[in-house]
Each structure stands twice: as structure tokens, then as C-alpha cells.
């Protein structure tokens, strides 16, 4: 009490950094903007409509779900907007709007809120939404359009990854880099995605470990598969959802490991599974499934690689390991 007024008393520390959940999410939203703009240029203004529907559904479902479950309102942390954007980025530009809404609803309500909301979900909401929509609405989910035609009805069928290995003509590397090829609306423009990733790294929102180990593993394995053909490697890296997945989805806080060592294994695992699916499975694309499977392994990775408390003697570490085995 000073002059009859009570003082705040709280546990130390009494200083806090200015980083907040909302600022982090805002940074992610900003980092996704180049890819959104690129999608509008490449596939026409309908991409913006799809994105708007997806984001609006995400916000509304989060608000409604929290309300119905009698929990605190969380739309202010902006994480629902990130999820909405990522769901939209995983859809083709021609997608019926109601399917986009279903995807967002599923991501927010079933994957995120049913498990307790932000930080509690064990799988990436946007990834699960993509997989669910792909399995449920296979045809609509693969209706790609040619870039710059701005058509709303599908005209052509294949993405570069599907074309790879066929005799049809492939887009050039430059076209791939700039996103001038078929694909989901947010995943095609490598330049925009890399720009966003760079921003996130500079703002220290994400650590480089997961994107680097993920992309690096894919590059290495594709180099081996292609017998050193760098053109083939570049092709694999720039096409499909690899960059979107490695930079924006695999780095999702809730569903990636807390510590560096586990993050490295997580990234390598994502890369490995992506290659296995791209090369051996019947699907053209494996990024989503790779990330989903690694999401499920996060608790185990964290437990296996948990940092040892400062000063734990080396010998004791070995003994503990042996004890854990026994």
C-alpha cells in the first residue's frame, strides 16, 4: 500500500518482451500476402474471392465454436485468419466456394477447436482440411486452370508434377519459379513464397531448421534419384506444394517440435516422406501427407530429443538412455 492505493504484486520477471501471439500471427499473415497477390495475378481475381470465403468461414467458425463451448473468445489472436489463408492456398482457383467454406470449417472446428484450440491441435488444420477435401471432392480439388487465362471453369488437367515423366511439354524453370503453371492457388509462385519465408526468418517468427532440413532432404534425395541431374532437382523443389508446405505449414508452432534437435529430425522426416510418396506412391503430391505423418510423431520426437538439463554429466546421460531402453 502506498498512499492508500494497492500495488501490483506478481511473480518475476516484471519485464516482458513485446512479442505477442497476435504480432506473430500478423507477421505470418503479412508473409502470406505476396503469394496471395501472385495468385490473383496468375489465376485471376476469383482467388481473392475463394480466400475471402475461406478466411471469413475460419473466423466465424472459431468465434461460434468458442462461444458454443463457453470458452474465451480467441479470434483476436488472428490465428484463425492464418488457418483460413492456408486452407485457401491449398485449393485450386476453380473450387466451388462452398467447398472452400467446408474446408475452413473442418480445419477450425474439427482439427483445432475440438482438441482445445490454439497450441493444442496435434495436426495442422490446413493440411488436414486439404486431405479431407481431396478425398471427398477429388474432381473439384484437381481442376487446375492455366495461368493468365483467368478462367473460372477448368480447362486443363495437370500440374507439373503430374506431367513429369510424361511426354507432354513442361513449363520452364523460370515459369515454375514465378508460378506460371497449374496448381493450388497459393503454392505455385515460388518467388512469392520464398519472399514470405525470408520475412518470417528475419522477424524470427520461424527458425530456419525445419524449412532447410525439409527442402534440403528433398533436394538431396532427388539428386540421387536423378543421378545428379540438377534440372530435375530444381523441378522437384519448385513444383507442387513443397515450398508452401516447408515454409508455412511444417513450421506451424502447434504441430512442430519445440526443440531444435527434434525440429531437425522433423524436417528430415518430412522431406523423406515427401520423396517416398512422390516417387513410389500413386499420388503426384506427397507434401501434405508427409507433414501430417510427422505431425503425429512430434510428441515422440520431443521426448526422444529433450535437451538434458544444464550440467547433466555425460555418463549419466548414457546410463539414463540404457535405463530407458531396459
Amino acid at each position: 500500500m502506498v498512499n492508500g492505493k494497492k500495488l501490483y504484486v506478481s511473480a518475476s520477471p516484471h519485464l516482458r518482451s513485446t512479442v505477442t501471439t497476435r504480432r506473430i500471427m500478423l507477421d505470418v499473415i503479412l508473409a502470406l500476402m505476396p503469394a496471395l497477390i501472385a495468385s490473383a495475378v496468375l489465376f485471376g481475381p476469383r482467388t481473392l474471392l475463394v480466400t475471402a470465403v475461406s478466411v471469413a468461414t475460419a473466423i466465424l467458425s472459431e468465434y461460434a465454436a468458442r462461444k458454443i463451448m463457453k470458452r474465451s473468445a480467441t479470434i483476436g489472436d488472428l490465428s484463425a485468419i492464418v488457418t483460413g489463408l492456408l486452407v485457401a492456398f491449398n485449393l485450386p482457383a476453380t473450387i466451388p466456394l462452398w467447398i472452400a467454406a467446408v474446408g475452413s470449417f473442418f480445419a477450425i472446428v474439427v482439427v483445432k477447436q475440438f482438441f482445445g484450440g490454439i497450441g493444442q491441435n496435434f495436426a495442422n488444420p490446413a493440411i488436414v482440411a486439404r486431405i479431407v477435401l481431396l478425398l471427398s471432392f477429388g474432381a473439384q480439388m484437381t481442376n487446375w486452370v492455366e495461368p493468365f487465362t483467368w478462367k473460372t471453369t477448368p480447362v486443363t488437367g495437370a500440374t507439373p508434377l503430374a506431367l513429369l515423366g510424361t511426354d507432354e511439354s513442361l513449363p520452364s524453370l523460370l515459369q515454375l519459379f514465378l508460378g506460371e503453371h497449374g496448381g493450388c492457388l497459393g503454392e505455385t509462385c515460388a518467388a512469392a513464397l520464398l519472399l514470405g519465408g525470408l520475412y518470417l526468418l528475419l522477424r524470427r517468427v520461424i527458425s530456419p531448421i525445419i524449412p532447410c532440413s525439409f527442402i534440403g532432404t528433398v533436394a538431396l534425395l532427388m539428386l540421387l534419384k536423378g543421378h545428379g541431374d540438377l534440372h530435375f532437382v530444381a523441378y522437384e523443389l519448385l513444383s507442387g506444394g513443397l515450398l508452401l508446405g516447408a515454409i508455412f505449414m511444417a513450421t506451424d508452432y502447434s504441430t512442430s517440435p519445440l526443440n531444435s534437435k527434434a525440429r531437425l529430425i522433423f524436417g528430415i522426416g518430412c522431406g523423406l516422406l515427401t520423396c517416398v510418396m512422390r516417387l513410389f506412391a500413386s499420388m503426384a503430391e506427397g507434401v501434405s501427407f508427409a507433414i501430417l505423418i510427422m505431425n503425429l510423431l512430434v510428441p515422440f520426437l520431443e521426448r526422444l530429443t529433450a535437451p538434458k538439463p544444464f550440467g547433466t554429466p555425460k555418463k549419466e546421460k548414457k546410463e539414463k538412455k540404457e535405463a530407458a531402453k531396459a
Binding site: 500495488l7 516482458r16 497450441g119 538439463p309 550440467g311
Partner: protein
């Protein structure tokens, strides 16, 4: 700091993991320590150290003088208490300490003369034992904030060979500048203290550590390290990156020697002693004058303090009196701390005595006192990256909330020094240090079952 100026200066052998960049706020760095006018009354608690409380050796009505023993204990881990003003003992009773614990205390009404007790004589010190006895008699406790009795720290069992003394002038807590002022104003005492301790305890190497945000102190300490007393260059200066909690004891040992103090062990177990720079200087002054620890320097700062100052105050001075001396409040205080903002204690009012180990009084107006609201953990891993002790704070917090004893025993929460880096870094505003304390309390409770 420019590379050229680093000639002959050590850098960290092994860099500290994690930590956080905290704004320094060293606003009072260039303000000389000023002596506060003698307070009318002082309240001197019998528990100003880690260990057994002292028993008062004076009774109401006794006349006491500065430096006179007023409390002592026969326990080893304890430090005697001395009168900090001359005058009459008004009361011997219980008071509440800043941390809420009750302690016996001696209240002395000052006669304003600050008369020195006739028993204050320079001690005769020729051997290690006499030196340790003198340190105990001085009542010295770690002045960096922990308050561990120094004679206990220095009395290392013979089976543990100490080869390095680390003198800690890092002062990594924001706002506090008293150690810096010690370097600038009492450099001779530091020099003398360093070589005295080195000689009596037969320690080969001395590393004086300072953060790179204090270039002036660097020059002073460099001259101490390059002194002619030290022909074999056994005393070296080490410059550390300004990063919190660079000045923590275990971090200091790691930076200076590359050794890691194992969980539950002390620096002495890896051959090191870490001492605060002000404690080192005090030992030199005590050996010269025999005047025990009866006053100390404090940084008084924060957005609610009218005239921030570095002040020297008698132990037991009322915190309210000190704030009044610093011009009172310029804004309504919403939070008052003893110690720094990272590890300091929020106090409930100003009617509390200053203890030996207090190094700052900080008062903040409302805007700086309200911490960000708490949200759900987003698992960003910032707390894991920030923890200098390689813990996973968010996991520990979850386990503590669920009283999951099995997990808590596995995750090593006992090495947590409550530095606050995790909570500082947390974007969700989690009071992680509070959770760490809860986790430790659960383990203690479990152990006592």
C-alpha cells in the same frame, strides 16, 4: 566494443546458451553514489541471509554504535548482524520482510551522530583460517542479490581444489548500476580485494567478468587485471556479450572456464568460486578498517521515481525514506520492486527495511507495471530457446498444472534458477517462473512424504 581494445582480454570459453536481449535501462550509470542523511530509525531484521536466522544480542534500552554486533547465530550457515546507526534500541520484535516472511528485528532510534563502535578495529589476518573468521565477523553476504553468507562460500572443503575465482561485474539485470559504480568509484578496493582473496585462498586464476555495455568499467578493470602485482598474468579480464542472464553464477563459471556445474552442485564442485564485485571490494575495506557490513549501495530508479539516484544507505533503512530522498514519486506507483526487474521481488508497500542483499529499489507507474495478459500456449518454443539451463519450461508448466510428479522428476526443474528468461520471451504472457516455482514446490512436497 572495438576489436583493438580487446587485446589481452578473455572472451567466453564457452558461450551461454539461450538467454534474452533485455533493454538495459542503465539510466543511473553516471550518477555517483550519494549517502542518504542518517535515518531517524532503522529496523534491522535478524534474517538477511540464506541460512539460520540470528538471535538478537541486545535488548530494549541498550545504547549501540555503528558496527556493534546486535545479532548472531552459532549455526555455520549464517552471518552476524551489526548496528547500522548509533542510538538506542527501541524494540526487539517481529517484522515482516519484503518476501512476506516474519523475522525477528532490532529497531534502533538514531541519535544522528553515526558514532563508530570502539570495537571496530582492523582484524589481524595472517592465515586462511583468520581470513575466513574475519569474513564471517564482517557479516558479509553475497551483495549481488542472493544473500548467501560469504564465509560459507569461501570455506571450501580441502578435497575440492579451487583453481579459479570469478569476480562478477556483469550486472546483467536492467536498471541496476551499483556494481558499475563500485568499479568506477572503488577500483582500489576491488584491486586489493582480488589479490587478498587470491592470496589467502591460494587460488591460481582470477577472471574478472564484465558485460560489453560498460566500456568505462572495462578500462578500470583492465588496469586491475594488468597490475604489477600479477607478473604471471593470473588475473585476467573477460568481456561478455550483453545478454541476460550472463551474470548468473553457473553461467559465469561456464564462460570463464568452459566447465558446467552439474545439477544440485556448486561452482566449488568444478573448482570455481564466483563473487560479486561489490563483495570483493567490501572484503578489502573490511580488512583495512574493520567496519562490518552496515551500509550498502542501491540503485533507485523506475518510471515512478522523481529523481533516480544511486544511494548508500544504512542497512535497515525504511524503503519509504529512501524513495523520499530520491524526490518521492513523480507518478503514482503501481509496482515497487526490491532488486532488478527480471528477478526482483514485488513488494506490497514501502514500509519495509532495506536488507544487506538488496541492490535496487525500482518503482514503476501503471503503464510499466501491468504485464501482458495471459493466453494459451502456442508452442512456439521461445521459452525452450531462451532457457540457459536447457529446460523445456512450457512442458514443466503443463506438468506442474496437472501435478504430474513423474514427469516433473524427469524434466530437471530443480536446475531452474528462476532467471525469468522464459517468461520474458513468452508471447502468450505465461507466468512461467511462477509455474517453475510451483513445480519445485510439488517436488519438495513429494520428497517430504
Amino acid at each position: 566494443m572495438a576489436k583493438a581494445r580487446l587485446d589481452g582480454v578473455l572472451t567466453a570459453v564457452k558461450k551461454v546458451r539461450g538467454g534474452v536481449k533485455v533493454a538495459h535501462h542503465k539510466n543511473t550509470a553516471e550518477l555517483e553514489v550519494v549517502r542518504i542523511p542518517t535515518p531517524s530509525t532503522v529496523v534491522i531484521p535478524m534474517q538477511q541471509h540464506i541460512g539460520a536466522p540470528c538471535t538478537p544480542t541486545v535488548k530494549v534500552g541498550d545504547t549501540v554504535a555503528v558496527g556493534q554486533l546486535i545479532g548472531d547465530s552459532d549455526k555455520f550457515v549464517s552471518a552476524p548482524i551489526h548496528a547500522s546507526v548509533s542510538g538506542t534500541v527501541k524494540a526487539v520484535g517481529d517484522v515482516k520482510l519484503p518476501n512476506g516472511v516474519m523475522s525477528k528485528a532490532v529497531t534502533i532510534e538514531s541519535d544522528g551522530e553515526m558514532r563508530l563502535w570502539e570495537g571496530v578495529q582492523p582484524p589481524v589476518v595472517n592465515t586462511r583460517e583468520e581470513f575466513l573468521a574475519a569474513v564471517r565477523a564482517s557479516g558479509l553476504v553475497g551483495l549481488g542479490g542472493a544473500g548467501f553468507p560469504t564465509h560459507v562460500k569461501l570455506n571450501v572443503p580441502p578435497d575440492k581444489h579451487i583453481d579459479t575465482l570469478v569476480v562478477n561485474a556483469a550486472e546483467c539485470e536492467p536498471f541496476i548500476t551499483v556494481d558499475y559504480r563500485e568499479c568506477m568509484e572503488n577500483s582500489w578496493d576491488i584491486l586489493s580485494g582480488v589479490y587478498t582473496i587470491k592470496e589467502f585462498l591460494d587460488i591460481k586464476n582470477v577472471v574478472i567478468a564484465v558485460e560489453d555495455n560498460k566500456p568505462e568499467a572495462f578500462h578500470v578493470l583492465k588496469r586491475i587485471a594488468d597490475n604489477e602485482h600479477d607478473p604471471d598474468d593470473e588475473v585476467r579480464l573477460m568481456v561478455l556479450e550483453s545478454k541476460y542472464p550472463q551474470g548468473a553464477e553457473k553461467m559465469m563459471v561456464q564462460s570463464a572456464t568452459g566447465r558446467r556445474v552439474p545439477p544440485g552442485k556448486l561452482p566449488a564442485d568444478v573448482g570455481c568460486i564466483v563473487m560479486n564485485v561489490a563483495s570483493v571490494a567490501f572484503i578489502a575495506r573490511y580488512l583495512k578498517t574493520g567496519k562490518p557490513l552496515v551500509s550498502r549501495s542501491l540503485t533507485v530508479d523506475g518510471s515512478a521515481i522523481a529523481e533516480p539516484k544511486n544511494v548508500r544507505v544504512p542497512v535497515g533503512t525504511n524503503i519509504g525514506d529512501i524513495i523520499d530522498f530520491c524526490g518521492g514519486f513523480k507518478a503514482e506507483p503501481a509496482k515497487i520492486l526490491t532488486g532488478g526487474p527480471m528477478m526482483g521481488l514485488a513488494i506490497v508497500g514501502t514500509d519495509l527495511p532495506v536488507l544487506k542483499q538488496n541492490n535496487a529499489i525500482l518503482a514503476f507507474a501503471k503503464d510499466d507495471a501491468v504485464i501482458k495478459p495471459e493466453h494459451d500456449c502456442i508452442r512456439c518454443g521461445r521459452c525452450v530457446a531462451a532457457c540457459p539451463m536447457s529446460l523445456m519450461p512450457t512442458r514443466i508448466a503443463d506438468a506442474a498444472k496437472m501435478r504430474d510428479v513423474e514427469t516433473l522428476q524427469r524434466v530437471g526443474v530443480t536446475v531452474c534458477m528462476e532467471c525469468g528468461s522464459c517468461a520474458f520471451a513468452c508471447p502468450a504472457g505465461k507466468p512461467l517462473v511462477q509455474h517453475m516455482r510451483l513445480a519445485k514446490a510439488i517436488l519438495r512436497e513429494e520428497a517430504s512424504k
